[in-house]
Every structure is written in structure tokens, then in C-alpha cells.
């Protein structure tokens, strides 16, 4: 049966899909193609533009959606501040949130490193973000089974 919770859960999952999928698409599809078919200058311009647009979408759409729906879901699941410390659901949720914070930190730092001209560091941070994002999904799956 479709309830308001279904909608909230759907938004939370679709937001995560778009965010993780978007990063994977940039890393696995856009970047290699740009490297192959564009010259250095155009490639840099385009990748910077892709990064900026993805960043804006993240800040304006994904992040607010995830925070709002995530908070609602936790509230709906009866999570309290105390229960966060307990083994099981609470602790898994904490682990997921910490990993998510790390992803956000890595992604933001990636943007800063790119714009300040540290391509290697930016690349390290981008990959950290991609892998840790997949990790968030993994922890989320664990959470679903708890």
C-alpha cells in the first residue's frame, strides 16, 4: 500500500541513486570520453563545467532531499539520540552518517582542489568520494536488514 512513507523512502532512494550514479557516470563515462575526444584545453573546460554543475545540483537538490527524507525516516523508525549509541540499528545508522559526512567532505574538497589547480589531489578526492559513496549504499543495505 502506498503511504506518505513510501514517498519519503522513494525520494531518499532515488536521491542516493542519482548522486552515486552521477558520480560513477562522470568517472566511468564522461571523463574517459573527454580524454579521448577533446584537446587538453577543451577537456579541462568541460570537466570543470561538469564538476560545477554536479556540485550545484548536489547542494541545491540532492543534499536537502537526503537530509530531509533521512531525518524523517529516522524519526519514523523510532530512532532516538540514546538509541544511536546502541549496537544494532542505531550504531549502523551512525556509521552510515559518518561515512556520508566523509563523502561530503571529500566531494567539497575535490571542488576546492580542482579550482585551485591541484589536479592530482582533486583526482584522489574524487575517487575517495566515489568509493565511499558506494560504501554508504553498502552500509544502507546492512541497515535495511537490521
Amino acid at each position: 500500500m502506498i503511504t506518505a512513507w513510501t514517498v519519503v523512502r522513494f525520494l531518499h532512494i532515488i536521491g542516493a541513486m542519482l548522486w552515486v550514479g552521477g558520480q560513477l557516470a562522470v568517472s566511468l563515462v564522461v571523463r574517459p570520453l573527454a580524454a579521448r575526444s577533446l584537446d587538453d584545453k577543451n577537456r579541462a573546460t568541460m570537466l570543470t563545467a561538469v564538476g560545477k554543475r554536479f556540485g550545484v545540483l548536489t547542494m541545491a537538490v540532492f543534499l536537502p532531499i537526503q537530509l530531509i527524507t533521512g531525518t524523517l525516516l529516522a524519526w519514523g523508525a523510532g530512532v532516538t539520540w540514546e538509541s544511536l549509541a546502541e549496537p544494532g540499528y542505531g550504531r549502523i545508522l551512525v556509521a552510515k552518517l559518518l561515512l556520508f559526512c566523509l563523502v561530503m567532505a571529500a566531494a567539497s574538497s575535490h571542488g576546492i582542489a580542482s579550482s585551485k589547480g591541484h589536479p592530482t589531489l582533486a583526482r584522489v578526492l574524487a575517487l575517495t568520494s566515489v568509493f565511499a559513496s558506494v560504501g554508504v549504499v553498502l552500509v544502507a543495505v546492512v541497515l535495511g536488514g537490521a
Binding site: 546502541e86 550504531r91 551512525v94 592530482t120 568509493f131 553498502l138 552500509v139
Partner: protein, 870 residues
């Protein structure tokens, strides 16, 4: 990074020598172990890793690698020995580090998982490989040094050889502790010996040997005159002194240990004399020399403190006193020697010409006065209690980490390592973060499927004792929350870790902690993570009602102390009967003989000194059925003690088993506290009682749960003759007990014991044993049969088919004498009662004797008297 850039950079890279490449590889290994040690120090406890892990990552990982690499380097350089082949070096490096990794991983698994043979095997194999590799390395040094030009530096190799020998020496108590079957006292002595051999021997001797030449090199000056002679003369006293210390600590000979450490310290002082002369000529002025100087000061201070401690406290308390200072010593001495040496040597071996040497030196010496000051000041402050001490450790770690980062940068910049790609680095970082998050998420067990928390909380007091945890078993309903109030009642530190990852801090004697185990959904094991304690029996079990699982190893369920009695045993929903029962009429194994039932007269003398050794063995208890038994003196029942009224018995009880045991003589009268206390494996106690009351008395193990110890064979009889006991033609003694088949302490056996449903009833430990080997008598002989009912649950109604008793003596009193007109048909004894009956067989024949409760008789409490004509 585009591939083009990499190619350009590799063109500009200066060519490096193969030697330099080898050394930087070896140094990278040292740095990697050091970094792991720092990580373990910072996060290990949070992740539930054992407390000794940082120390061993550092000593076995970083320091051992450094010593092997650098003792070889200095021997080769100073003695102009032939270089070892690159292949040999690589193989040695790989084997050594595989051994170290196996040893550490195995030992960690031993203390964090349920252990088992593969885990123990891995740890021991690792230890053997490490000791073997160092022996190989040392042997190589000795052989090469003999054929080398030698000369004035030959002493260096001798110091290294002695150092290598002490690592092998240290491995012995280490391995013994891994096996774990030692008493807590022995364990503490072994750990003190282990630490001294490793720190003062393997590390100390190698460092002193190196300093003779390294110290002048660091000061960029000549070796002092006479320094070879000093090195030559001081080695033997140092090595012999340390050997005496190690042996003294291991065996508890305090004064041998004190004398040894004093000789060692004197040798160190003498060996330092030329170093001091050098330093007076050329004051320390570099990062390396100041760091190494600081290390030597820490070493001298540590030796003085060590000598004081060894002379003031007994050997088994030495380690408890020194333990808090070991990390300080490790960082202050060992760590700074390593740091100082690497500061000097790393730029040298990285090579690349004078320009690069200066650049690398500048890098590894960056901020050195600040780092040195922070490290040594903070190290002193770590001795402060509470938050201040913890913060000081953070400062120490930061200072060391700063060097590790600088040194790693130098190694990476010199290009000896393939630079990892940005993709690989990012992927590793992301994957590592995910792994950490998963570890956090899954810590604390979580709620398993199908079990709802009940909302009830059960609080249990848990006492940590000498190699025991009591209660050994806690049972509760699935879904109950468990809180353990843990107190350390022993004289040495312990902790308690539960299978779901929660753990108390290390508790000093008398210290308490509250451990919130959380919601218990299934069986859970608990144990002490101090090295070797788990294997020595410091385990407990949490069982949930309805569990049909073994209560893990017997030690856990049996080893509880005196206050374990209140705990019931969990869930007896189904009566497991997989033993298949016994067949009293079956065939005994070839050559089997029952316990000797004929009772010897009391020996002369008024004081009976007896040693009873507790053993856990296996015995044929019913025809063709072998069963593990716990025994006093190797037999069930235990040795029969007989004396006259007024005699004194002085019993020495030695626990040669694997769990706590004790003894309780009903024949004596005394306060149970001391003589009836439970002793750990390897310990012994003396139990003295005055036999001033006649009777047939029971003795038994009184360690909780007693039903288990009695049910597994730990009982025996004391016969104190009444005054003027008439002589008879034959005397026999039968102790009646119960037989519970199955793994002692296993769920199946525990269930049967709790339900008082034995598989058989036994006379003198065997079911129908005297049906197979009858007792003998002749017609018209007066036969006296002493009977003691050991239980644990049932008594007896002793009857001889076809005979009547004209004498009955029960619980210290004659109920019937031959001159009385009446007769008796059965001697009734409740559990723990005893007495005797006398009869005269009228004619030749086979007379069965039984417990006339026929449930018992038909299941083993049965035998024959074979009576022949005179």
C-alpha cells in the same frame, strides 16, 4: 595525472644504486610497521584489538626489521665482509615479515576470537619463523665474520650474535604463554622473563653493539681509543648478567635476577665510557646525535628503575609493577634509537649524490629540536594519570608520526618506490573508510533475526580471579539485556571481553567496571584478553534458554569460584540422549581391571602425608565405553586414605588439570575459606586435618558447580577406624558414584547432571566392573564391606543377594553388632554418607551385590562376590 608527465619525471630521476634501493625497501618495511604501531595505539582499543598489539607491532615489526637490516649493514661495512646476495636479502626480508605477520595475526586472533588449533598453529608457526630467521641471520653473521678481515670491528658482530640469541631466548616463554596452560604465577614470571630477554637482550645488546661505531659516526668524529677493547670485555658480563636475570625471573629466583641485572647495568656503564669520551671531544650537534643521546639517557634510567623493582618485589609481581612503564621505555629508548639512526642513515642510503643527500637530510631533520623536545617532555608527562596522560601520549604520537611522514616523503621522493596512481590512492581511501564504517556498524553484535528485545535487564556480578571467571555460566532469556558488574579480585590485572566486541578496560587488582553487553540473542562467550589467560581458563559463557549448543570449552563452565553457586544452568528443554546408553553386560577391553576394592589396614604412624595430583584423563567406565574423567590421583574414586582415630592427615593437592579444582575432606573440621579454596592449574595447596572422629568419610572437589566435578569423578573416601575395630578376614571398600557420559561440561552432560539422570551408577568408578572381575571370599570368612555414597544426586541401599549383615556401622555409629539378635538386609546411605557392613558367606557360590534401588542396579551398580570353599 597524464602518463606523459610520469615519463618526463623518470628521465630526470638520478640513477640509484641497487644497494640504496635495497636499503630503502627494507626501511620502508620498518616505517610501515612503525605506522601500523601508531595506528594501533590510536585506534586499537576502540576496535577491540588487544592492548599488547602496538608494542608488538613496534618491536616485532619495526625494531626487529631494523635490527636485522642494520646489523647486517654495519657488519658488512665495518668488517669488510662480503655482501649478501640481493636474493638472500629479499628472501630473508620476505620470510621474516611473513613470520612476524603470522605471529601477530595469530596472537590477535587468539585473544579476540574463539581461537582454535589453526589460530594457535599460525601464531606458533610465525614465532618459529621469526626466531628461525633471526637465528639464520645471526649464524650468517658469525660465519662471515670468521672469514672476513675483521680486525678492530670484529666485536660488533659478537654483540649482534648475543642479541640474536636473546631473541630466540625470548621466543621460548612467549610460545609457552601462547599455549597458555600455565598458572597465573608462572605466567607473570614468564612474561617478565620474556620482556627482559627481548628488550634488554635482543634490542639492548644490538643497540649497544652498534653504538660503539654509530655514535662516533653520528658525531662525525673518530672512534675513541680503546673502544674495541671495552666492547670486547663488556659483552660477556652483559650477556651472562642478562641470562641470569631472565632465568631468575622465569623461575622466581629473585636474587639471581637482581645480581644479573646489576652485572648487566655495570657492563652497560663500562661500555658507555668510550662513548662519553667521544661525546666530550665532540659535543652532540645534530638531530641524530641528540635523539640517540636522549635514548641512552632513557636506557640508563630504565636500568636503574628495573634493578630497583626486581630487588623489591617477587618475580611474579615484577611485570605488574613495570607494565605501565614499558611503553615509555619503548618510545624513549627503542623508538628514539630508531628515530636517531634513521635520521642519519636514511639520507645516506637513499643516495643520489651530495645535493640530494643534503635535501633529504634537511627533510628528515625538519623541526627536529621541536620534535625532540615535544617527544621527551610529553613522554615524561604520560606518567600523569587521567586526561593529562592521554593528551601527552597524543603529543608523543604526533611527534613520531611527523617523523614517519617526513621519512616516508623522503623515501617516496627519492623514487625508489613506484608512486601509486591518484586513482589507486583515492580508491584505497574510499574503501578503507567504508571498511571502518562497516566495522563500526557491525560492532556490538546487533540484533539477530527473529529475536525481539524483551526490555528486561539482567545484572550479574562477575568476579575475575586467578585464571578463572565466576560465574562460569550466566543464563538468561533471549532478548534480555545483560549488564555485567565486573570486579578484579585477583592480584594481577585482567579484563573481560565478550564475543560481541564489548570489553572492559584493563582492571588493576580490586578495580571494578560495568560492562553493558546489550541485548543477548544467542550464546555468547567472554574471556580475559591478557595474553595466555584465555587459554589458561579465563572464560565464561552466556547462554540463552533453549540453546542446544555446547557450553564451549570445559574451562569456562567449570572454573568458577565459590560464588558461582547461584547461577542455574541454561535451558533444559530437551533431554539429549545421544550417548546411546551403556550395556552393563558388554565386554570390557582386553586387560582392563577395575579399581582395587580390597582395603589395606591403616598404615603406621600418626601423621599421614599424602600428595594428591588432580588430572584430567580418560578411562573405561563401562564395558567398551571410554569417557573423559576428572580425577584425584588418576583414578575414580581417588586414593583411599585410611588412618586410626586421632591421626593427622597432611594433604598436598596439586592441580595438574586445565581448570580450577579444590578438595573438601568431610573427615576434618576447619574453616573452609583457605584449605577448600579453588586453585588454578599449576598451583598447589596444603590441607591438614585431624581425624578425631571415626567413620567412612567422603572427600570431593568443591569447585562450583560441584555437581559437575563430582559427576565427572572427583571424589574419594577416607576411612577412620573406630576404636577397637575387630580384625576381619577380608575388607573391601566400595564408593558408589554416578556416570554422566558426554563431553565434561558440554551441554548434553550438563543437562543430564542438572536433571539427575545419570547414564549409569558405578561402584568404584566402573559400571558393573566387579561383574567382570568379582570380589573374592571363602566360606566362613568374615567379610567387611565399607560403602561410601558419593552421589552427586543419589544415595544407595547396599545389599548382598543371598547374604545378611550381622554388623552395620553407619555414620559413626554401630546400628547392629554380631551379638544382637536381629539382622540387616541393606545399608542405606544418603549422598555423602558412609559406613560398613559385615557378613559371613554360608557356602560357596556367586553372590551379587547391588544397590537395591534397581534402577541403579540394572544400570551399573552391580557386582559379584565369588565365594569358594576353604
Amino acid at each position: 595525472m597524464p602518463p606523459v608527465q610520469i615519463r618526463i619525471e623518470s628521465h630526470t630521476r638520478p640513477p640509484t644504486l641497487p644497494r640504496a634501493s635495497w636499503h630503502s625497501r627494507a626501511n620502508t618495511v620498518v616505517l610501515a610497521w612503525a605506522a601500523l604501531a601508531v595506528l594501533a595505539l590510536l585506534f586499537g582499543e576502540g576496535l577491540g584489538l588487544p592492548r599488547w598489539l602496538p608494542v608488538h607491532l613496534f618491536l616485532l615489526g619495526a625494531v626487529t626489521n631494523a635490527i636485522v637490516t642494520w646489523t647486517e649493514h654495519f657488519s658488512v661495512a665495518l668488517l669488510r665482509m662480503a655482501q649478501p646476495t640481493a636474493r638472500m636479502q629479499s628472501v630473508r626480508l620476505a620470510v621474516l615479515n611473513a613470520g612476524i605477520a603470522a605471529l601477530i595475526a595469530g596472537a590477535v586472533a587468539l585473544s579476540t576470537t574463539s581461537g582454535g588449533v589453526p589460530v594457535l598453529g599460525t601464531a606458533l608457526a610465525g614465532a618459529a619463523v621469526v626466531a628461525g630467521t633471526v637465528a639464520w641471520h645471526t649464524g650468517w653473521l658469525v660465519v662471515r665474520a670468521r672469514s672476513a678481515m675483521g680486525g678492530r670491528f670484529a666485536h660488533v658482530t659478537r654483540w649482534y650474535t648475543a642479541a640474536g640469541l636473546f631473541l630466540v631466548v625470548a621466543a621460548v616463554p612467549g610460545a609457552v604463554m601462547l599455549f597458555g596452560s600455565v598458572s597465573s604465577r608462572t605466567h607473570e614470571q614468564l612474561i617478565a622473563a620474556h620482556a627482559h630477554a627481548a628488550l634488554l637482550g635482543w634490542v639492548g645488546l644490538a643497540v649497544i653493539g652498534t653504538l660503539f661505531t654509530l655514535w662516533p659516526t653520528l658525531l662525525r668524529t673518530r672512534v675513541a681509543e680503546g673502544s674495541e677493547k671495552t666492547a670486547h670485555r663488556t659483552l660477556l658480563p652483559a650477556a651472562l648478567g642478562l641470562a641470569a636475570t631472565v632465568a631468575g625471573l622465569a623461575h622466581g629466583w629473585r636474587w639471581a635476577a637482581v645480581a644479573g641485572v646489576l652485572v648487566y647495568a655495570a657492563a652497560f656503564a663500562a661500555a658507555t665510557a668510550p662513548l662519553v669520551r667521544v661525546a666530550l671531544r665532540r659535543r652532540p650537534h645534530t638531530a641524530a646525535s641528540w635523539t640517540v643521546l636522549a635514548a641512552q639517557v632513557w636506557f640508563a634510567v630504565a636500568l636503574v628503575a628495573d634493578a630497583a623493582v626486581i630487588s623489591l618485589v617477587p618475580a611474579h609481581e615484577v611485570y605488574t609493577v613495570l607494565r605501565p612503564y614499558v611503553p615509555v621505555f619503548l618510545v624513549g629508548f627503542t623508538g628514539q634509537i630508531l628515530l636517531g639512526s634513521l635520521t642519519f642513515l636514511l639520507p645516506v642510503v637513499l643516495g643520489g649524490g651530495p645535493e640530494r643527500l643534503i635535501r633529504n637530510s634537511g627533510l628528515v631533520e625538519k623541526w627536529w629540536p621541536a620534535r625532540l623536545a615535544v617527544l621527551n617532555t610529553a613522554l615524561l608527562l604520560t606518567l600523569l594519570p587521567g586526561v593529562a596522560g592521554t593528551l601527552a601520549w597524543v603529543a608523543v604520537a604526533a611527534s613520531v608520526l611527523a617523523f614517519v611522514v617526513l621519512a616516508a616523503t623522503a623515501v617516496i621522493r627519492s623514487g625508489h618506490l613506484p608512486r601509486p596512481s591518484a586513482t589507486a590512492m583515492g580508491a584505497t581511501a574510499g574503501a578503507a573508510a567504508t571498511a571502518l564504517a562497516l566495522m563500526l556498524a557491525l560492532s556490538g553484535g546487533g540484533t539477530s533475526e527473529g529475536v525481539e528485545p524483551t526490555g528486561r535487564t539482567r545484572t550479574v556480578e562477575v568476579s575475575l580471579g586467578a585464571m578463572t571467571i565466576s560465574p562460569g555460566t550466566v543464563s538468561l532469556d533471549p532478548g534480555d539485556s545483560l549488564v555485567l558488574e565486573v570486579v578484579n579480585n585477583d592480584s594481577q590485572p585482567h579484563d573481560l571481553r565478550m564475543g560481541n566486541g564489548v570489553q572492559t578496560p584493563l582492571l588493576s587488582p580490586g578495580e571494578e567496571a560495568v560492562l553493558e553487553v546489550g541485548v543477548v540473542t544467542g550464546p555468547l562467550e567472554g574471556w580475559c584478553t591478557v595474553m595466555g589467560h584465555r587459554a589458561a581458563g579465563m572464560t565464561m559463557n552466556v547462554v540463552t534458554t533453549g540453546d542446544d549448543v555446547a557450553l564451549a570449552d570445559a574451562g569456562g563452565t567449570e572454573a568458577g569460584g565459590a560464588d558461582a553457586g547461584g547461577e542455574e544452568h541454561g535451558g533444559h528443554a530437551a533431554h539429549g540422549d545421544t550417548s546411546g546408553g551403556i550395556d552393563p553386560g558388554g565386554e570390557w577391553s582386553e586387560g582392563w581391571e577395575p579399581f582395587e576394592a580390597a582395603l589395606e589396614p591403616a598404615p603406621g604412624g600418626e601423621v599421614h602425608e599424602v600428595e594428591i595430583v588432580v588430572t584430567e584423563s580418560e578411562s573405561e567406565v563401562a564395558p567398551g565405553v571410554r569417557q573423559p574423567v576428572w580425577t584425584f590421583g588418576g583414578t575414580v574414586p581417588g586414593p583411599v586414605l585410611r588412618g586410626k582415630l586421632g591421626d593427622v592427615f597432611e594433604i598436598t593437592l596439586v592441580n595438574d588439570g586445565t581448570m580450577g579444582h579444590s578438595i573438601d575432606f568431610h573427615a576434618g573440621s576447619l574453616a573452609p575459606d583457605e584449605p577448600m579454596r579453588t586453585i588454578a592449574p599449576g598451583e598447589e595447596l596444603t590441607y591438614r586435618f585431624h581425624a578425631d572422629m571415626a567413620g567412612a568419610w567422603l572427600y570431593h572437589c568443591s569447585t562450583m558447580p560441584m555437581s559437575h566435578h563430582l559427576g565427572n569423578g572427583m571424589y574419594g573416601a577416607v576411612v577412620v577406624d573406630p576404636p577397637d575395630l575387630p580384625e576381619v578376614d577380608r575388607e573391601y571398600l566400595l564408593v558408589q558414584g554416578e556416570l554422566y557420559l558426554g563431553e565434561p561440561g558440554g551441554a548434553e552432560q550438563v543437562e543430564k547432571i542438572a536433571a539427575a539422570e545419570p547414564d549409569a551408577w558405578v561402584f568404584n568408578g566402573s559400571a558393573n566392573g566387579y561383574g567382570h572381575a568379582p570380589l573374592t571370599a571363602e566360606v566362613d570368612e568374615r567379610v567387611r564391606v565399607w560403602v561410601v555414597a558419593a552421589g552427586p544426586s543419589s544415595g544407595t541401599a547396599f545389599h548382598i543377594v543371598g547374604a545378611r549383615f550381622d554388623t552395620v556401622y553407619k555414620e559413626g555409629n554401630y546400628l547392629l553388632r554380631p551379638e544382637d539378635p536381629g539382622g540387616s538386609q541393606a545399608l542405606d546411605l544418603a549422598p555423602a554418607q558412609g559406613g560398613f557392613v559385615e557378613t559371613v558367606f554360608p557356602e560357596a557360590g556367586t553372590y551379587p551385590f547391588v544397590d537395591h534401588d534397581f534402577r541403579h542396579a540394572e544400570n551399573g551398580a552391580h557386582g559379584y562376590f565369588e565365594v569358594e570353599d576353604r
